[in-house]
């Protein structure tokens, strides 16, 4: 990889944060940084890579910002010039209240006056350097819509002159949005199992690192610890979730010896710290579910009752479709598959939700209603977006034997 590209991947968010915090102009800082990277791409191959690439990029970007400000001749000119010039070697500018300017920028992006739908993408773009197209893919939004959403948010930051000095009392109010965005970044890196998308490579580690920083910044917020524990549990199992040939391996069939024990131990310790703080939130509960699953696989005995209770609490607190489906499965382990199926039946409007149909298939199989189970596996496979999961579901269907359900067959001869 080209040195400029490496620097871009490693430092983009930090450099942008430093520039934006000085000027309060996110869009302008992005343009300046883009220019600086472009200059690096043409200059470095000729002049050699500078000893401190970050400082070089920052200096170049600052020069652009000053030029741009001069050109605009706005009333703000002096203000911007002063701010841009005020600091010396800003590559070493970290180490204040936030520990890292990236985290400060996260909290700026979580400002209540920024459209909630724009907050996570804005954080992903500015802090982690993902491009709009990649974010659009990860969050499954049309690229044009995403571009507009981001543009509007940046304009707002500039025009409302949203303060970059986030007061300590604002932190708790905005922390949920920040945690949500960090989790979304993690999810985006997590789903990219094959690691094909260059932009999402390392995204899970980056998200974990941001969560660590958030924990340090918000020591009183147990949910920050909950999120960190949750992601560490997932990361610990990263290598076990795919077979040699890339085939999907569900949690219950993974080989625990391929899990990372240090990562799990850390997650457990952090979750305990959070629990001691005596304020349960949905992220801690989800981490606790992970902990129970890990424990079950290691000890060979699953605490079904405990799991069911955890999901019960999660349903109370955050009744998302995913949580309700998982609750039905947990219930089926304590009170039987018929009870679980009853729960699934009570969930309306899940026609196009893959985990719902997977769960349904599983319960129907346990009840011996094989024809219906086959059809449910088929339906789940049809809703899968990832080839590995689709193949796994179709294999489950085949394993039930019998004839393929006739309904819908040959409707289209693809």
């Amino acid at each position: 990889m080209h040195p400029a590209e490496l620097a871009a991947r490693a430092s983009y968010g930090r450099l942008l944060s430093i520039l934006a915090v000085k000027t309060h102009d996110l869009a302008g800082a992005e343009d300046a940084l883009a220019d600086a990277f472009l200059a690096a791409l043409t200059r470095w191959p000729v002049d050699g890579v500078p000893r401190n690439p970050d400082a070089w990029l920052l200096t170049a970007a600052r020069r652009r910002l000053v030029d741009a400000a001069r050109r605009r001749r706005t009333r703000d000119e002096k203000h911007v010039l002063l701010q841009v010039n005020a600091d010396g070697d800003a590559a070493a500018d970290d180490g204040d209240f936030f520990g890292d300017e990236r985290l400060r920028l996260l909290f700026v992006c979580a400002h209540p006056s920024i459209d909630a739908a724009a907050r996570t993408p804005l954080m992903l773009q500015t802090v982690l350097g993902l491009d709009a197209a990649r974010i659009a893919t990860a969050l499954r939004v049309a690229p044009k819509t995403m571009g507009q959403r981001l543009w509007r948010a940046k304009t707002k930051i500039r025009e409302l002159r949203i303060s970059f000095d986030v007061a300590a009392e604002d932190l708790p109010e905005r922390s949920f949005a920040v945690l949500e965005a960090i989790y979304a970044a993690f999810g985006s890196g997590w789903e990219d199992v094959a690691g094909q998308a260059a932009a999402s490579r390392g995204l899970t580690e980056e998200a974990i690192w941001l969560a660590r920083l958030t924990v340090r910044l918000l020591p009183e917020e147990p949910e920050a610890r909950g999120l960190l524990a949750l992601m560490l549990f997932a990361e610990a199992r990263a290598k076990a979730r795919r077979g040699e040939d890339g085939a999907y391996i569900p949690l219950t069939e993974q080989d625990p010896s391929r899990w990372d024990p240090r990562c799990i131990a850390e997650a457990e310790a952090i979750l305990k710290e959070a629990a001691r703080m005596g304020c349960v939130g949905s992220l801690q509960l989800e981490a606790a579910v992970q902990s129970a699953h890990v424990d079950a696989r290691r000890s060979g005995s699953r605490d079904d009752h405990g799991l069911s209770l955890l999901y019960e609490a999660l349903v109370q607190m955050a009744p998302t479709l995913g949580v309700r489906v998982a609750h039905a499965i947990a219930l089926s382990n304590t009170e039987g598959p018929a009870r679980g199926l009853e729960r699934l039946d009570a969930i309306g409007s899940a026609h196009d939700y893959q985990p719902y149909w997977s769960a349904r298939a599983h319960l129907l199989e346990r009840l011996g209603r094989l024809d219906e189970a086959r059809e449910a596996y088929n339906r789940a496979a049809g809703l899968a977006e990832e080839d590995g999961i689709r193949r796994w579901l179709l294999a489950k269907k085949r394993a039930l034997g019998g004839t393929a359900g006739a309904s819908g067959a040959n409707r289209d001869g693809v």
Partner: protein
């Protein structure tokens, strides 16, 4: 909103249609997209070699040409017409199309409003 999902496949993708795994994946997708009440119509298309004629008017004159136009690597392999609330939903269905895991692409087009 009505959207057309236009499925383009590579030549290799079209040739691989006989693969039972691929057929099973497609059957599942078709069952899901109709079963969810989303699809209005759709069909797979036969090999582009079956393109026989295209028709156009040049300076008011009819011109009929033999197909296929072989200058593109990807060819239209099938289509769905779906009715979903918004583009985001259409994107979800496009992402599920099995062709996308075999090098194919899905183009999403908003359909014209039907005259009332």
């Amino acid at each position: 909103m009505r959207y057309a999902l236009l499925v383009y496949e590579t030549e290799a993708g079209v040739k691989g249609r006989g693969d039972p795994d691929y057929q099973a994946a497609y059957k599942a997708y078709i069952d899901a997209i109709y079963g969810s009440g989303v699809a209005i119509a759709g069909s797979g298309l036969q090999d582009a070699a079956t393109t026989t004629t295209t028709f156009r008017l040049v300076h008011g004159e009819r011109q009929i040409q033999d197909g296929p136009f072989a200058d593109t690597k990807e060819q239209l392999a099938g289509f769905f017409l779906i009715d979903v609330p918004d583009l985001d939903k259409a994107l979800e269905w496009a992402a599920r199309c099995p062709s996308t895991s075999r090098g194919g692409i899905v183009e999403i087009r908003l359909a014209l409003e039907q005259p009332t």
